[in-house]
């Protein structure tokens, strides 16, 4: 079991009170698993990704534990987390294309980064150039400034750099969202290849795009308003979702082939609840067509089949 998250709660401190962005999530990611983390904006998916590597100033871990390969991660201790960052837990940030220092040549930037982790650049160089070659870049990029590379090239450099220390866990936040479809496909396939070549053990891919997850992820975890909704294999989530939220979300996605004139899709009425004072019970209750009295109680995230979990009273009973 590579990553085990147990009842993790991360709140944002604000003047008006705590925003419960992540409110008790429990799940595991196996060795070699690529898990997609999907949900709409504000559901807590980015908060979850960030809290596994670096909390920002307003975030507080209120409860819960995270174990990586059996070792507990000291999430709240910024200094102690440093030993894990880059080597054990690494991230491809949301705007990877602007993640590089614009006034450093790429090679120099990488060397400074490795220095800060007491790793020798010269010793790493052969592996670095081998991996750059793997993603179709030659060593000449190390002599270039970020502005001289295209968006897709920068994305590839950042991916190679993030995985250079063979981390146990890689977090990729909206990795493909800003890319054109053709580049998007190449990057998705690259991430799978990095896993196959064991550059990374487990990967969490955070995105709002379920169709890209179906292409690259083994499992998909859906979140809503700071809670877990459903986790299952990518095929089960996209072809046979059990939770009403997942069902409605999928129903609102236009696929190539679906046309307005022939089949009018519909969205989900309403909007997610405020996480400042979230309602009790199921957080999707107000927008859910299946809601009944029992939904005033919070549904637990339970196993509903082999390797399938969901948090819904209607699904749990079946």
């Amino acid at each position: 079991m590579s990553l085990a998250v147990d009842d993790l709660r991360v709140y944002y401190r604000t003047l008006r009170g705590d925003v419960r962005a992540l409110d008790g999530v429990t799940f595991t990611v196996a060795d070699g698993e690529i898990m997609g983390l999907a949900g709409e904006s504000g559901c807590g998916k980015t908060t979850l990704g960030k809290s596994l590597i670096r909390l920002d100033g307003r975030m507080r871990v209120i409860g819960g534990t995270v174990h990586l390969d059996g070792t507990e991660l000291p999430l709240s201790d910024d200094g102690a987390m440093n030993a894990f960052r880059f080597r054990e837990v690494s991230i491809v940030p949301q705007y990877a294309m602007s993640a590089m220092n614009p006034i450093r040549k790429i090679g120099r930037m990488i060397s400074e980064l490795l220095d800060s982790r007491d790793v020798s650049y010269d010793e790493t160089l052969p592996e670095l150039s081998r991996r750059l070659a793997l993603v179709g870049l030659d060593d000449a990029v190390l002599d270039r400034y970020p502005i001289e590379l295209s968006g897709g090239m920068k994305q590839r450099v950042v991916m190679v750099l993030s995985t250079l220390m063979n981390p146990s866990l890689l977090i990729a936040d909206e990795l493909t969202s800003a890319l054109d479809v053709s580049t998007q496909k190449a990057v998705a396939e690259m991430l799978v290849e990095f896993r196959d070549r064991k550059f990374v053990k487990s990967t969490i891919v955070i995105t709002h795009d379920l169709s890209i997850l179906y292409q690259m992820a083994d499992t998909i975890l859906v979140m809503y308003a700071g809670k877990l909704v459903e986790k299952a294999s990518a095929a089960q989530i996209t072809q046979d979702p059990k939770h009403p939220y997942t069902q409605l979300l999928l129903g609102s996605l236009p696929e190539v082939g679906v046309r307005f004139a022939e089949r009018r899709l519909s969205g989900i009425p309403g909007r997610p609840p405020s996480l400042l004072n979230p309602p009790t019970g199921c957080r999707f209750r107000a927008r859910c067509p299946l809601a009944f009295e029992k939904c005033a109680e919070e549904p637990p995230f339970v196993e509903i089949g082999p390797n399938r979990h969901a948090a819904c009273w209607k699904v749990g009973a079946a």
Partner: protein
């Protein structure tokens, strides 16, 4: 209704504008009332520039854009006001379309004070009510609120409601749902379908092929400023003729079918790359910039 003919836009770039970048090159198309035409392209393909030229926010270097037979470039001040009563744009980021320190009512009120001054307060209220209804917004939910109190989807609908207060005939919708969440974006997209039913012509600019397919009657694929393929949506998607269109369509992630790792991904050949292949007719209402087509 709206006709774009041979429009080219060359930007000066580089230090002191010594280098020239052709953003849009010899693009021609026409939009009829009640027609949705989607303009699809990757980043840097010039799709936004085309929309901006129609809205006269950018001036074309060559070519002409006409609306009901009038050349848009030569409109004087008063005619331009009339033009904007008919032609409006909605853009990608709903939050930057509003001034965050004012209530959202202000963008609507500005229409009252600058275009519809003859309307009495009560007539205005009825009109406002009607246009909010048309975009399925509850007045009490949105009026008197600040932009940060509303969702992206509500703000985008409000922008469309604002356009409806005028005599909207043509809408440039530039990536209007790219920033919205999946559960609400489809409703805004459906709204474009409702506008179409009212006879509004729409230029739907997007990078997302499945959205373009869902809503549009005709499709234009733009690559590096050139139209590589255009025609009826079902023909362009069903039987793409240009290798670039084929490549785009095989790269789109589907929810029901995985990418085929053994599939031959069509790659545009150097002959397609040089870009001067003329648009030729492949079938009725289907054109592609390919060589050697019959």
């Amino acid at each position: 209704m709206l006709e774009v003919s041979g429009v080219t836009k060359i930007f000066k770039t580089g230090m002191f504008g010594r280098e020239l970048t052709t953003a849009v090159s010899d693009v021609s198309f026409a939009v009829q009332p009640g027609e949705v035409i989607s303009l699809i392209g990757e980043s840097g393909s010039g799709k936004t520039t085309v929309g901006r030229m129609i809205l006269r926010l950018t001036e074309p270097t060559a070519g002409a854009i006409t609306f009901d037979g009038h050349d848009v470039a030569s409109l004087g001040r008063r005619e331009l006001r009339r033009y904007y009563a008919h032609v409006q744009g909605v853009f990608q980021d709903p939050f930057s379309s509003y001034n965050p320190v004012f209530k959202v009512d202000r963008v609507l009120g500005m229409i009252h004070s600058s275009y519809l001054r003859d309307l009495s307060a009560s007539e205005w209220k009825t009109k406002l009510q009607k246009s909010l209804e048309a975009v399925s917004l509850e007045p009490a939910d949105v009026l008197g609120k600040y932009p940060h109190q509303l969702s992206g989807g509500q703000l985008q609908r409000l922008m469309i409601a604002r356009a409806l207060l005028l005599e909207l005939q043509f809408l440039v919708a530039d990536e209007i749902i790219s920033m919205l969440d999946a559960s609400t974006r489809i409703d805004v997209l459906n709204l474009l379908g409702d506008l179409k039913a009212r006879g509004v012509g729409i230029l739907f600019i997007t990078h997302d092929l499945s959205l373009g397919n869902y809503i549009s009657d005709r499709t234009l694929i733009l690559r590096r400023g050139r139209v590589v393929e255009m025609g009826a949506t079902e023909k362009v998607y069903g039987n793409p003729a240009h290798p670039y269109t084929q490549m785009l369509l095989t790269s789109v992630p589907h929810l029901t079918e995985r990418w085929d790792p053994t599939a031959q991904v069509p790659t545009p050949t150097p002959a397609d790359e040089d870009g001067d292949a003329p648009l030729v007719k492949v079938a009725d209402d289907h054109f592609a910039a390919i060589r050697g087509a019959t």
